[in-house]
């Protein structure tokens, strides 16, 4: 036989150490930024404020949980705003409210979440059947969601009087509002799905090497649709939570959550190209973004500058995470 140009190969474990470093970045950044603000403002480090930060993170955490699965596949989802608006209106019209005599309670909430799920399915179907890139498919679905929400709104704001749903935002358990616990449960569920279900693992794998799955005889399409549906359900729940917070169904319930959620997920270490990151990463990212938003108000940065400082810090955070692994001839899109 041929003697080829090599004899043994020393296993190279460098990648693994790189991965550990990468995963540690966002939590370290979280601690550092928290430390800086805590040093600058005594108000910031009060227990009340920490509770406040965590409470304020609840909705974003749920939405980010959903979007993480989509990002893991390497797709993108901009439908959160529309889906949340539609879900908010739906739930506020189905639980006890001032517009009609409905009082379905939990069932109403379930319907709103399922509606979110259905919108997610629509995005997935447009991606899989019509082959429309997810960026555009979800943008379209978002517009449809807003339209549906506006139809349901019909000119009069539905205020909810359902004590359970209103209680979610007000009642507290161990110092945190029920919404926060719901968000924590969502993160846990998200993590379990990601770690222990075929859906979660395949979403991860699709981001890693979609064509390999096809070659291994996995039918990828249903999983893609399911992932979008799962994300839609999370947005639906997010819409319900916003409704609980505001005590009313707003068409604008989801305004801005799409880009915030993507920002949070990316800051947490989920790659836009897919195949890396996860729900726990995103949870850290959400806290990071919330600490930043809250901290800037606490140290008294002018409201004009807040958006700018946030943008700068997000870029800096990603740059800090990226620079250690910079190589020449690296592809960055």
């Amino acid at each position: 036989m041929t003697v080829t140009a090599g004899v043994t190969a020393a296993p190279r474990r460098r990648t693994r150490r790189g991965a550990a470093f990468r995963d540690a970045g966002p939590p370290v950044a979280l601690v550092v930024i928290f430390g800086i603000f805590a040093a600058l403002s005594p108000q910031f480090r009060s227990v009340d404020n920490v509770q406040n930060i965590v409470d304020a993170a609840a909705v974003l955490a749920v939405v980010t949980c959903g979007i993480t699965f989509v990002l893991m596949m390497g797709s993108i989802d901009l439908s959160a705003a529309g889906v949340m608006g539609a879900a908010a209106l739906t739930v506020s019209l189905l639980v006890a409210n001032n517009r009609n005599d409905n009082d379905f309670g939990l069932l109403g909430i379930l319907v709103a979440v399922l509606l979110g799920c259905a919108f997610g399915c629509l995005s997935g179907l447009a991606l899989v059947l019509l082959k429309v890139p997810s960026f555009m498919a979800t943008l379209g679905v978002s517009a449809v969601g807003l339209g549906v929400a506006t139809l349901l709104f019909a000119g009069v704001q539905p205020n909810i009087s359902d004590t359970m749903l209103k209680g979610w935002a007000i009642e507290r358990f161990l110092g945190f509002s029920y919404l926060t616990w719901i968000a924590a449960a969502c993160v846990l569920v998200g993590w379990l799905v990601q770690r222990y279900t075929r859906l979660g693992r395949y979403a991860f794998a699709i981001g890693g090497a979609e064509e390999v799955l096809t070659l291994s005889g996995v039918r990828v399409k249903p999983y893609k649709i399911a992932v979008f549906a799962l994300a839609g359900a999370f947005y639906g729940l997010g819409g319900v939570m916003v409704t609980s917070q505001l005590g009313a169904g707003l068409v604008q319930a989801g305004d801005g959550y799409d880009f915030s959620a993507i920002t949070a997920a990316v800051v947490g270490g989920t790659l836009l190209t897919g195949g890396r990151g996860g729900v726990l990463h995103s949870a850290v990212g959400v806290l990071l973004v919330m600490v930043l938003t809250n901290g800037l108000v606490q140290v008294g940065v002018s409201p004009y500058w807040q958006g700018g400082v946030e943008g700068l810090i997000v870029v800096a955070a990603v740059a800090a995470a990226v620079i250690p692994q910079r190589r020449r001839n690296q592809v960055v899109k």
């Binding site: 080829t4 140009a5 090599g6 020393a10 693994r16 279900t197 070659l215 291994s216 005889g217 890396r276």
Partner: protein
Amino acid sequence: MNASTPALEVRGLVKHYPGVKALDGVDLIVRQNEVLGLAGENGAGKSTLLKALVGLVTPDAGEIYVRGEQVKLRSVVDAADHGIGMVFQEQSLVPNLTAAENIVLGSEGAAVRRGVYRWDTMRRLAQEQLDKIGSDIDPLARTDTLTFADRQMVEIAKVLRIEERSQHPPVIILDEPTSVLESKEIETLFAQIRRLREFASVIFVSHRLDEVLDVCDRVTVLRGGQSAGEVATAGAEPGELHRMMIGSTGSDDHYHENAAAPVTAAEPRLSVRGMSGKTFHGIDLDVAAGEIVAIVGVHGSGREDVCRALFGAEPTTAGEIRMDGKKIDLPGTRAACAAGIGYVPAERKIEGMVGPMSVAENMTLTKQRARCTGPFVAPRKQAGLVDRWIERLSIRTPGRDTAIGRLSGGNQQKVVLARWLVAGDIRLLLLDHPTRGLDIGARSEVYRLMRELAASGVATVLLADSLEEAIGMADRILVMNDGRVAAEIACPSGGKPSPLDLVKEMV
């Protein structure tokens, strides 16, 4: 089914593509517990035949029999259900999943209940497969942390899952499994194949005919979409196979050694002193005009990085690089191009060419002066230039505007090479596995081209596919070991060292 029924039989398989008859009535028999070699030049139909066997291509005519029963294979899953599985040349593992998940992917069975993973069961199932091939890989390691060879083992373990699936002895197809392996890893692989033979049939495909003869019981040769013959490997010669593949007697002077011109230049064209980087240290290297210097070394010896550093694609921390006596700085690939350095990357499909773009565009991507008048592209000038080089390198393409992705590997490689030649200002060529994945005919043409370039005064650094290639082509060989130059061995025509001389220095 009795012991003499073939595990797999193909009769009169035909497949047309627009303008090409890829398969023209191929017959093939794979016996039980046999390793069958499949040889043939590029375009002989091997690829289409294998695709048909795993259900990726539906043949236009002909029959496939598995253990005596006629079957229709519609998908990879279909093929797996009939016990046929393939280890793809470009590895088909999901990098960010664990080895265990990759092994059971698509047929999780008991490892997934109602969509929920049972990690313990999965680990056990994967371990069973790994045990079959005697591998000690941790099933729960992430695939992208494994070495290439380990990943190949995972891939074989994955294919062996079809044994449980079909409840029959499987037929395993190995497509070019050795092309990126180092020799030790190849030894392990061959041991593996012999072990597989105990309970399975194997189809082994390789361009390296000596490997085919070494590991196979029998070889079927394809030519022009037809079966050109069959050879029992016992006592067979590579030359004989080669003749069957190309239909005539191959040249004995495979490496065109008689075309090698003696190196006369006194001043080195490229002179590297004390170059260090992340994976290499204190590299000294001289290459004279017209000289071919091969760098050999084991996987991880740092030779790839040295090559890339010379092209400015890998940062250096110390050292000095001189071209024709003038010190140059290589902060990026642009500077290297400007200095007259060219680079042919190993990963042709990803790094070498832009698949959807035309032959003409790929060929003129680098050197603008050759096709431009002032800052503008001169369409006629470009067309003339490209056509001239298509002819000169006898690149087989329907036209200069054909997307390069549609050409065969050898022709793609020639276009990539031509990219550096069109301007006529090339002084140093860095060839990283320039013949990887090419068949004998195409290899030979690349070798001839290298000789011509050397004769015209181009200095060449070669990272060869095999030690034999290095010895055959090089005037001098540098052996790298653990990021340093371990030895320098002269390698003149007529005074070639033996592979063993090199191996001594490599470990």
